[in-house]
Symmetry: C2
DNA sequence: TCCATGTTGTGCGATATACGAACAAATGTC
DNA sequence: GACATTTGTTCGTATATCGCACAACATGGA
């Protein structure tokens, strides 16, 4: 790509949108400039553009995003057949298991939820399509990373913030890589409270008809109700069934 | 705002993202140019920028969005306390009603789902946060429109494509306005298969402690199981309880 | 009050970008 | 195979945008 085929004003604007998040509902021009490391004048123009287009509100001091911004993500969710295809299978899976079932894909060092059938709130976090979790310590993340070439996985782990969320969290890259090998061989990953105390989950890959992994599906359960040791016998058969039902549906 | 406070390259890029959707997973440069009514050269630069940043994939012919684009919408969902605040109440509501419960806000002529607790698939459409429906024929849309000044509502209806989805769909602006008055007085809206045959729903507004309507919540049920006439007695008390539980939580 | 600090808004020269048109390549049609 | 159409790419130039420096304003503490 040539230098001139890049619209830096657009790229800068997207960076400004991403500056909003979790603890950043309201951003002043100066705050947004610090977060994005862009010039204040540039950020100001981007924010005023967002406001002008209705993607943001401006009270003269702070900018907040409006629901119109969801149109952007929705362009992906409705444009990609995967979420709509998976949803009914997740509903069925979730009902039979009596636990929440989810589907996700990989984006950099994170997994991104693209569909979910929730039963009861077991996690402290609110998960909806678009939600992100670090891949290295999520069952679906392990399955998705296990599908990649090892060199790529090492690069991703190097970029990941390998945080010790609980006493159980594996953070050593070599230990994780060994676990990914096991996942690749055995075809599933189990997480025993590595993300959050009290939460276990089990995931399998969703492959298309050419054997490429395009997503992962999982079942999550409270550790108090379902010990990690029982996850496999209870839920792996259900997950495998769903996996088999999906494969012929995923052409190309 | 001054002329120079608007970054048109950014605005054009956002328009390109929105060109993707439902039947538009893959767009060529020329297709995107037609949809956005921008010059092919300009669209090409925007798309190449998206690809360079990892928001899109490019196979040399077609562009497709990647899950990274969800970061943009997620910036809103995680930045706004409303979805996370509503979710547990929707879960509870949904469980007690035995039906799907949702929450939405208004964006132009559409309602946008910001949280949802689904029970069984009753609609043909797959609804997730970010999903949109026309406001005039959705129960939550009626509630949200009823909260606005009548002049504004007329303007919105004028911009809406008032489509006859089913034999029941109300499309006459005056008839709709009369219905909004009733909704405002009685505090709830019921839709009897106006959006889709076989689907009934009932909605109430969610007000903050100053009495401003900030969202709507609803319960949807299959008409075969719950006739429209029974929606009120079955679900209105539950909705009112949830509404009351939420009010003190919604400051400012 | 005055100053220190931090914020937002603005004018300007240097630079980057958009436009339209022209060209090249691919595709479809007879 | 020749022609017409559509699509992608390149180029020169007029125009828009960037980042800087500075001005204007607000806030809070000595």
């Amino acid at each position: 790509m040539r230098e001139t085929d890049f619209v830096s004003g657009f790229a800068r604007g997207l960076k400004v949108i991403e500056a909003f998040g979790e603890t950043r509902q309201r951003l002043s021009i100066a705050e947004a400039a610090k977060l994005t490391e862009l010039d204040r004048a540039t950020v100001r123009r981007s924010l005023l553009t967002l406001a002008e287009l209705g993607y943001a509100d401006y009270d003269g001091k702070f900018f907040t995003l409006t629901p119109k911004i969801l149109r952007l993500g929705h362009a992906y969710l409705s444009a990609t057949p995967l979420p709509a295809l998976l949803q009914p299978h997740l509903d069925h899976l979730s009902e039979r298991a009596g636990q929440s079932a989810s589907a996700s894909v990989l984006d950099g060092t994170d997994i991104v939820y693209i569909a979910r059938a929730s039963q009861r709130r077991v996690m402290s976090i609110n998960l909806t399509p678009g939600s992100r979790l670090p891949a290295y310590c999520a069952s679906m993340g392990r399955v998705l990373l296990a599908a990649l070439p090892e060199s790529e996985v090492r690069a991703i782990l190097a970029r990941s913030e390998l945080k010790q969320n609980t006493a159980n969290t594996k953070t050593d890259p070599d230990e994780l890589i060994a676990e990914f090998r096991r996942v690749r061989t055995e075809g599933y990953a189990i997480i025993d409270q590595e993300l959050e105390i009290g939460l276990c989950s089990i995931a399998v890959p969703v492959d298309n008809d050419r054997g490429e992994t395009v997503a992962a599906i999982n079942i999550g359960a409270p550790a108090a109700l379902v010990p990690a040791a029982e996850m496999k016998e209870r839920y792996l058969p259900l997950l495998k069934e769903t996996q088999a039902a999906l494969r012929p549906l995923l052409r190309r």
